[in-house]
């Protein structure tokens, strides 16, 4: 039995290397073994990587909140916790049926995504989820003092994910944390640097008429609606501009922010 099963294998190895059959079989074997190796490693390690990413995002949210002046003391007085809520972007209010626990399941359903036409799609996303989990921080009188909004958009090298913190007027940026990006290291990748992200604090997003005026400048920031551009990363800057304009506009958090301004939260 052993001998017979080994035989074809021996015959294969005995073939000259230039034989077409052996070439094809070797190519197949090498690809199959390497494929199994790569898939095995990816599948086995994915849970650890996902946990890493989740921990990193939580750490960034915590660091973002801590970095905003006055927030650390506010966190202490309110019991040290952010509240979180899933919002329905189409209706501009808290989602009735979706909770943070069921958010992933809801977003697996294509019906819960809005396909964007090119004129709407300032962030280059193609589609936008109807439900997003946001984080809120309230002061002693239960008024909103900080709103953390996840945003994402197409940069130069891939998607940029960030969390934007708006102050109590829902227009002044309190801070920004980039949670994931794949821009060119050393150029667009510098959006990860805190020095650049600190430039967002105090920037205004919309003008009094409600139009989103924010943009990443080409060079140094001029005026209350701009942050400094990064030299050599024009398209990354444009991506960040588009991302903010989309998410604070009517197809993003616009309706939600209006509802918050009316005191419906």
């Amino acid at each position: 039995m052993e001998e017979r099963s080994l035989n074809p294998w021996r015959r294969l190895l005995a073939l000259p290397n230039e034989s077409r059959f052996k070439t094809v079989v070797m190519a197949f074997l090498v690809s199959a073994i390497c494929g199994a190796l790569v898939s095995g490693a990816t599948v086995l390690l994915r849970p650890i990587q996902a946990a890493n990413r989740a921990a990193e995002e939580a750490a960034r949210i915590a660091a973002l909140v801590r970095g905003i002046p006055g927030m650390a003391s506010l966190l202490e007085t309110t019991g040290g916790a952010l509240s979180t809520v899933v919002v329905d972007l189409n209706r501009g209010r808290a989602a009735q049926t979706v909770t943070p626990a069921t958010l992933d399941a809801a977003l697996a359903d294509p019906a819960n995504w809005l396909v964007l036409d090119p004129a709407q799609d300032l962030a280059g996303l193609g589609q936008r989820p109807d439900f997003v989990q946001i984080f809120l921080l309230r002061d002693e009188d239960a008024r909103l003092s900080l709103v953390l909004l996840p945003v994402s958009g197409q940069g130069y090298g891939g998607q940029i994910d960030a969390i934007l913190a708006l102050g109590s007027d829902l227009n002044t940026v309190a801070g920004l944390a980039v949670t994931s990006q794949s821009e060119t290291p050393g150029l667009g990748g510098r959006i990860e640097e805190t020095a650049w992200q600190e430039g967002f604090a105090g920037t205004q997003m919309r003008d009094p008429s409600g139009t989103v005026r924010f943009r990443v400048a080409q060079g140094a920031a001029g005026g209350p609606y701009e942050v400094d551009g990064i030299t050599g990363a024009t398209r990354t800057g444009r991506g960040v501009t588009g991302m903010m304009r989309f998410w604070l506009g009517p197809d993003g958090y616009g309706p939600l922010l209006e509802a918050m301004a009316r005191g419906e939260f």
Partner: protein, 224 residues
Amino acid sequence: MTELHSRTGVWHTLTSPLVHQNPVILQILGICSALAVTTSMATALTMSAALTVVLTLAAGLVSIIRGHIPETIRLIVQIVIVASLVIVIDQILQAFFAELSRALSVYVGLITTNCLVLGRTEAFARHNPPLPAMIDAFGNGLGYSLVLIVIGSLRELLGRGELLGFAVLPLADAGGWFTPLSLMLLAPSAFFLLGLLVWAVRTILIEQSEPEEHAPPPRQEVTR
């Protein structure tokens, strides 16, 4: 006698890539990643370890099947093996060293295209048994690591006044005397340092200087 001979042979295979046959300094292989990840010691060390592991394993695997690699597809077979190992290492780094993996960004993936790896599997592992092939690969990995560590430590020391994140030179900001050279953290400084290193080594080891036939054809305005 043969025992002694083979042992000095192994020792020679392992140590000659460190200085005398250094893949980066002498053969100028793999300098893209060598320049990109040397802004600090931590990234340089991680990259060195990743490349050494990939190179050693790839050399071993290629050497094991060396008798059965069809000539027509030998480069593809070698690249597939190297690429798979690189992906596995990258996944392991992402899982257990997430912070360093982010700092290295694309450069771990680019080990696949590092000429050094393919150079060793093609030139050595394909013609030698697994053990010498892996020793040779390990030695070359160490040679690459040595250059990365030298350049990485110089850049981190002069660019930030630190080594492995610990302050070594007192910074002027904090009341010391050392003003960091931020040029050292940018890509061009890696070229300068590598150039100076190659110059220094070739001045000491005169036999590494390239012979005349590699010089460009003489031109009127250049020759004096």
